[in-house]
């Protein structure tokens, strides 16, 4: 494999990664492979939710009111679509902020003359924006979980509760990891500044963040909107 390893070596002295047989950075291949495996993790959680959907013996239920004798007291449908729609919008906008953060890092060396270019070229601004929007999404989720518990739905109440909290909880954990990753990038940006040579590292975080977003796109439709 010596010849294959030698081919892309023009890049290794300037960009700090050893030559690879594909010419691609191994970190980027690894993150895509990781995202592929995550697809299967979330597929298992989503299919579990869908299989158990409508099979809860006791309420509260996601889309239907629960009346006695299923519930000791009447309970309304538990999912709050307006709140979840707002959190979905927040997560979509965080993806926009993330992609703008990556573009800002890639274009750090470009001269910026107008105010608009300076705003678009500020990696700190867009990384902060992404992290704040991610934290806002988590706030929405905390609000939702708390209100569900107050309305009598916990992870132990019924099949809906078990599969719902497991699925959305796993997603929330991924968002939390993403926010922490963004904060580490921000720390690096404040410490020494992120430039075009760091684009690969920001790209990895961006790919993870967008993946978390696309998982939520699926969850929002399959869990919240389809009755």
């Amino acid at each position: 494999m010596t010849h294959a390893a030698a081919a892309p070596s023009a890049h290794d002295d300037t960009h700090g990664h050893p030559p690879t047989s594909t010419g691609l950075d191994n970190k980027k291949i690894a993150i895509w492979a990781f995202i592929g495996s995550e697809c299967m993790l979330f597929a298992s959680l989503i299919s579990t939710y869908l299989i158990y959907k409508g099979r809860s013996v006791v309420g509260p239920y996601p889309h239907e009111a629960c009346l006695p004798p299923g519930c000791s007291t009447p309970l309304k449908a538990i999912l709050n679509i307006p709140v979840t729609s707002a959190s979905t919008f927040v997560l979509l906008m965080s993806s926009l902020a993330m992609v703008l953060a990556l573009a800002a890092v890639e274009n750090k060396d470009q001269p910026k003359t107008t105010t608009g270019e300076k705003i678009l070229g500020s990696s700190k601004l867009w990384l902060w924006m992404t992290a704040i929007l991610g934290a806002t999404f988590l706030g929405f989720q905390a609000f939702e979980f708390t209100s569900f518990v107050h309305e009598g739905l916990t992870i132990r109440t019924n099949l809906f509760g078990s599969s719902f909290f497991t699925l959305t909880g796993f997603h929330g954990a991924h968002v939390t990891a993403g926010v922490l990753w963004l904060l580490t990038l921000l720390a690096i940006d404040y410490r020494r500044g992120l430039g075009p040579k760091d684009a690969i590292n920001v790209d990895l975080a961006a790919l993870y963040w967008h993946f978390v977003d696309v998982v939520w796109i699926a969850i929002f439709t399959l869990v919240y909107l389809i009755k």
Partner: protein, 120 residues
């Protein structure tokens, strides 16, 4: 905007190792994509509140199609799968196909889907 001349972009970015085959979109494209994603979300929530549409057979397929469009838009434009090396496409789509096939197979297996009646 000066930054829209795409070949001035990313002068010091290692395109080869990042697998960038075509120049990534400009900022204006990202904003357009965000607008499209928002509009699709608005349509999804809007149809959720139309009882006659919810009761119709078109409700679930419509939501699934809109969701798939949003999913593909993010993956192609924000995750740059449309612009990057085809190996990344394989690494993502192969597990995705396995995952989606598994979901459909399990739904058939547990009686949530039927070949005659669709979603039950």
């Amino acid at each position: 905007m000066a930054h829209d001349s795409s070949h001035e972009h990313h002068a010091n970015v290692d395109h080869t190792s990042m697998g960038i085959e075509k120049e990534h979109p400009t900022w204006s494209t990202y904003w357009k994509v965000a607008t499209i994603l928002t509009l699709i979300t608005v349509v999804e929530v809007w149809i959720y509140y139309i009882p006659s549409f919810v009761a119709s057979r078109a409700f679930i397929p419509t939501l699934l199609i809109l969701s798939a469009v949003k999913f593909a838009t993010v993956v192609l434009f924000y995750m740059h799968l449309r612009y990057d090396h085809r190996l990344f496409r394989v690494l993502f789509t192969a597990p995705l196909i396995i995952a989606m096939t598994t979901i459909v197979a399990l739904l058939f297996l547990f009686g949530k889907l039927s070949a005659r009646t669709g979603l039950t």
